[in-house]
């Protein structure tokens, strides 16, 4: 991608377990904070991308009306929580194509646990008609099927998957934005109550309210040391087709191109921010994105550590598993944390000498698995 375009600002709201605030107040606050860090105002934006489950009946254009801005490029995410990462890649391409000069990408939602179940019951026609009437248990029931299959096919162990939740919690303890900051041990993880066997409580995210935002534009508008280049970005939807519970996702199709275009491989990443709706999906991303071979992730997890100071820093702010999942905002949390690290603003969870990192998105649960996958490779320049 163009050497002169990248991420020049980032922002986030506080997360709330329950809220009386409107969705637009979260989206506007995250957007304003991102613009503030770039030294820009809403009026400086001529491209707008929004990803939000709760946005209808509004859309990107009526959001522009709310913000009082006139835009030449408007993007509405349709890939669930894979959408925000995809929106960043699409914003870079829109700028390269001359459709806009400066794009604000926002993602967020304002729901809670009850709102999440209502959302899942009506997520798509396929799920509403052929999942909801089964008492499917929302995403937990579906991802329990995937996790059991991975365990039975490859011998993947719960105590290894638990390292993801436990090590991310260790990072979250240094993040004042995380809703869940208490200490967690592997014993806590393994002894937690069963939600959808084999899914346990600490495999699940806490649905909450909040929003995240980034600004995409000419890198020279950001001060030196605060410029984050987008080296490559890919997305894939509905892969593999007609499989209910595959042990792989769209990442496997574009991983080689993602690295080739960036000019780096998995070993060159100083950190990864993966989509952690469940540890099993983080494990599958590690396989599909080439950090280990398919089926060997349990051993990989056992011999690595994943906190901000670990051998492979993963979701260095605690991820959704500890911060909470602000709906689709969870799909941009990975990007804002990556930008924070690459700007050297991670404070007491700063990854040492963080120069580049990989971000992945995942989402749009269909009749079974999440249909959409996306990834970016980012570099401090």
């Amino acid at each position: 991608m163009s050497s002169s375009i990248g991420i020049i600002g980032y922002g986030q709201t506080a997360y709330e377990k329950r809220t009386t605030r409107s969705l637009f107040s979260f989206l506007a606050e995250a957007g304003k904070k991102a613009l503030d860090t770039a030294g820009l105002n809403f009026k400086d934006i001529d491209g707008l991308a929004i990803c939000s489950f709760e946005l209808p009946p509004d859309n990107t254009v009526t959001a522009a009306e709310q913000f009082g801005i006139s835009v030449s490029w408007a993007y509405l995410g349709t890939a669930g929580s894979a959408g925000p990462v995809a929106s960043v890649a699409n914003a870079v391409r829109a700028i390269e194509a001359g459709q806009a000069t400066t794009v604000l990408c926002i993602a967020g939602d304002n729901y809670d646990i009850g709102g999440h179940f209502r959302l899942m019951d009506n997520f798509s026609r396929g799920l509403r008609n052929y999942g909801t009437p089964l008492g499917f248990g929302g995403a937990n029931g579906l991802f329990g099927i995937i996790q059991r299959k991975h365990m039975e096919t490859y011998g993947t162990r719960a105590e290894d998957l638990g390292r993801i939740a436990v090590d991310q919690r260790r990072s979250a303890r240094r993040n004042e934005h995380a809703l869940l900051r208490g200490p967690m041990t592997l014993e806590d993880y393994l002894n937690a109550r069963i939600i959808a066997d084999p899914i346990r409580l600490y495999d699940c995210v806490l649905p909450c309210a909040g929003a995240e935002a980034v600004v995409i534009g000419a890198l020279d508008r950001a001060p030196a040391g605060k410029r984050v280049k987008v080296l490559s970005g890919f997305e894939r939807h509905n892969h593999p087709p007609m499989e209910i519970a595959p042990l792989r996702g769209g990442w496997e199709l574009f991983a080689d191109q993602l690295y080739a275009k960036a000019g780096y491989g998995p070993d060159d990443m100083d950190f990864v921010q993966l989509y952690d709706d469940y540890p099993i999906m983080v494990a599958i991303q590690l396989e599909d994105l080439g950090f280990c071979k398919k089926g060997e992730v349990s051993d990989f997890l056992a011999r690595n550590s994943f906190s901000w100071d670990g051998s492979l820093p993963l979701n260095t702010g605690g991820g959704q598993l500890s911060c909470g999942q602000a709906g689709i905002g969870g799909g941009l949390l990975s990007v804002t944390e990556a930008v924070r690290q690459l700007r050297g603003e991670g404070r007491d969870r700063q990854v040492e000498k963080a120069r580049r990192g990989l971000v992945a998105g995942y989402g749009m649960v269909g009749y079974g698995h999440g249909l959409s996958a996306s990834s970016l490779i980012l570099e401090a320049v």
Binding site: F117, M120, D121, R125, G126, R128, N129, Y130, G131, T132, P133, L134, G135, F136, G137, G138, N140, G141, L142, F143, G144, I145, I146, R148, K149, E152, R193, I194, I195, A196, D197, P198, I199, P241, M242, E243, I244, A245, Y367, G368
Partner: protein, 139 residues
């Protein structure tokens, strides 16, 4: 009112009416392109394998195997609360198509991946909004 109507129901339309009508009498119908090829589920107006919109309905045997499953302790809808743990299974039917289905079993902890399952008898079908299974030989 049938007992099963307490559960959330599928929304019936022209695409799924033959399937839902079939299950009301305890039968499971899959779709296929008229020219042949793989059978598929869930109901839709286009074959996901061939792209054909000229489709036919085929009655399945109702027999299959469990590929994987969850034991759901926290259902999405309160109408299922008395049923936990709900066995939510990915099932491969003899005809090759896969679907999500509930398995009903006196002791849910007896379920395992790989076991053979069959449709509940037609007399039990009215309780459940969608095709529901039991281990083969358990009736």
């Amino acid at each position: 009112m049938v007992a099963g109507s307490r559960y959330p129901q599928p929304l019936e339309d022209e695409d799924n009416r033959p399937f839902l009508d079939g299950w009301r009498s305890g039968k499971l119908f899959l779709q296929q392109s008229r020219e042949g090829g793989r059978l598929f589920f869930y109901p839709r107006p286009v074959c996901p394998y061939s792209g054909s919109t000229d489709l036919v309905w085929k009655q399945a045997s109702g027999k299959g195997r469990v590929l994987s499953y969850s034991l759901v302790m926290r259902p999405n809808d309160p109408s299922f609360n008395d049923d936990v743990p709900i066995i939510l299974a990915e099932i491969r039917l003899e005809e090759g198509a896969t679907l999500l289905g509930r398995i009903v079993l006196a002791d849910p902890l007896q379920v395992q991946s790989g076991i053979a399952v069959e449709l509940l008898p037609p007399s039990d079908a009215a309780r459940y909004p969608l095709p529901t299974f039991r281990p083969t030989g358990n009736g």
